[in-house]
Amino acid sequence: MLLNASGCLDASTAPDVARSLDAFVTKTVTPLPREGNPPVRIAETEVGMVNSIGLANPGLEAFLADHVPRLAELGVPLWVSVGGFSADEYAASCAALDARAAVTTLELNLSCPNVDEAPESAAQIVAACRAATTKPLYAKLAATGDLAELARAVADAGADGLSLVNTLRGLTLDERSLRPPLARGVGGLSGPALKPVSLAAVWVCRRATALPIVGMGGVASGRDALELLAVGAHAVALGTVLFADPHAPARVRAELAAELSAHGFAAPADAVGAAHDRVLAASV
């Protein structure tokens, strides 16, 4: 299953790309509209990019009124990424989205590096949202701290799945001026540099919980997607690679199919967790 990573595709400017996915994930929506951070907001690094978009979004009200109806027409399952600055805000958004049939899944963005965080723990936020909606809840985490413990905590709090990983804190300097191009200095690091980190995160969470996992972080090829499946992801999301190539979903899909058959897997599902099985087998 192939998705876009939240914040890396706008279905209104690229509907064909959105339709080429198995589900479309919105940019994170917060209760109130947000302008986002001042520019410069993006910069390339040697092996990735940094961004400090800062959750620019129209706010929940406009999102519900204007965006959801249009997104419903895409004809692909709709995942809404939910952000907030307190557990109450997250829960209120989930409650409002719960009524919308077009919305299939809620992804809680618990890990944006570019804005202040809610005071509550990830598990508390998940618990509050769980009480507010019956829709599937995915907890989106970054690869910091004790991920196994965090994964178990959000699972216990009622999460139905994990989205791994959000960006890491990164910084780059302009070649000549030696200044950070980003207005905020530090931003979220995404792209190839993140791949070993996202593989490790999925590996660790797969061992810690039975939750299905959407794996992401530096996926640029079918091989990358296969590796995320092998360490335990059930689905794979494309982020930064979409900026360079809006047609990446079709390419990655074709490459993944070739990789799967080269490694003797009849279907993507057969590859899920394969790296673990083989390690267990080898250590017997």
Binding site: T13, E35, N51, E175, F243, P246
Partner: protein
């Protein structure tokens, strides 16, 4: 939304124009679009593509005038005939060409979109400012161009005639800001760092009517208020 077309194109030539490089690629199935629209070019070895205005559209070709200011543009200028290059576009909103008394204004590498624009407008007069004689060699790409060199700014010859023309301009931000003062209603082609060029990343924020908008979606050509 028009379909997003991306194709691997063949490099035909890389010609020096003063300090700039004119990168000519085979057109493939891509269309040149309107003057002021741009393409995302993927420099070999870089993660993100770079936005480039279309400079010229000879039959079967697309040509880009590039100033090598950093790693991405350096990699583009280092291409050689026979190499291939991934190109996405055309993108964004170009210049409206239904104007009565066009006057083109360009500064530095801002000259890039003007040759293609000049053809579309029937070779109107143009005012071009450059840092040096060397840079001014690019003026040869624009018909009917008057060139000024620093320390004179292009706004000096523009000031007396601005209100008699429909101004279409491209250049560095301070130049565009000055042109906006002299020529309300001018069409100005702005720049911002862009990761995607098609509205996906929200990286290219510019202030418009009091809020941040995506330049790649709303522009890059905007009408001066």
């Amino acid at each position: 939304m028009p379909e997003l077309r991306r194709e691997r194109l063949r490099v035909l030539a890389v010609e020096q124009v003063g300090p700039y490089s004119l990168l000519r690629v085979s057109r493939g199935m891509l269309t040149p679009g309107r003057p002021g629209q741009f393409f995302m070019l993927s420099p070999p070895g870089r993660l993100l593509p770079r936005p480039m205005s279309l400079c010229l559209a000879p039959p079967g070709e697309l040509a880009f005038l590039i100033d090598a200011v950093g790693p991405g543009t350096r990699a583009l200028c280092a291409l050689a005939p026979g190499n291939t290059l991934d190109v996405l576009g055309p993108l964004g909103n170009g210049f409206r060409v239904d104007v009565r008394r066009p006057l083109l204004v360009g500064g530095g590498i801002g000259v890039a979109p003007l040759p293609y624009l000049a053809e579309a407008l029937g070779r109107p007069p143009a005012l071009l400012g450059f840092r040096s004689e060397h840079h001014a060699q690019a003026a040869a790409l624009v018909p009917n161009a008057e060139v000024v060199l620093e320390p004179t700014y292009v706004t000096e010859p523009l000031a007396p005639v601005a209100r008699r023309h429909d101004v279409l301009a491209c250049g560095p931000e301070p130049m565009l800001a000055a042109v906006r003062e002299l020529a309300p209603g001018a069409q100005l082609a702005w720049e911002a760092p862009m990761a995607c060029g098609y509205g996906a990343c929200y990286g290219c924020a510019v202030e418009l009517d009091g809020s941040w908008k995506r330049l790649c979606v709303e522009g890059p050509v905007l009408v001066a208020a």
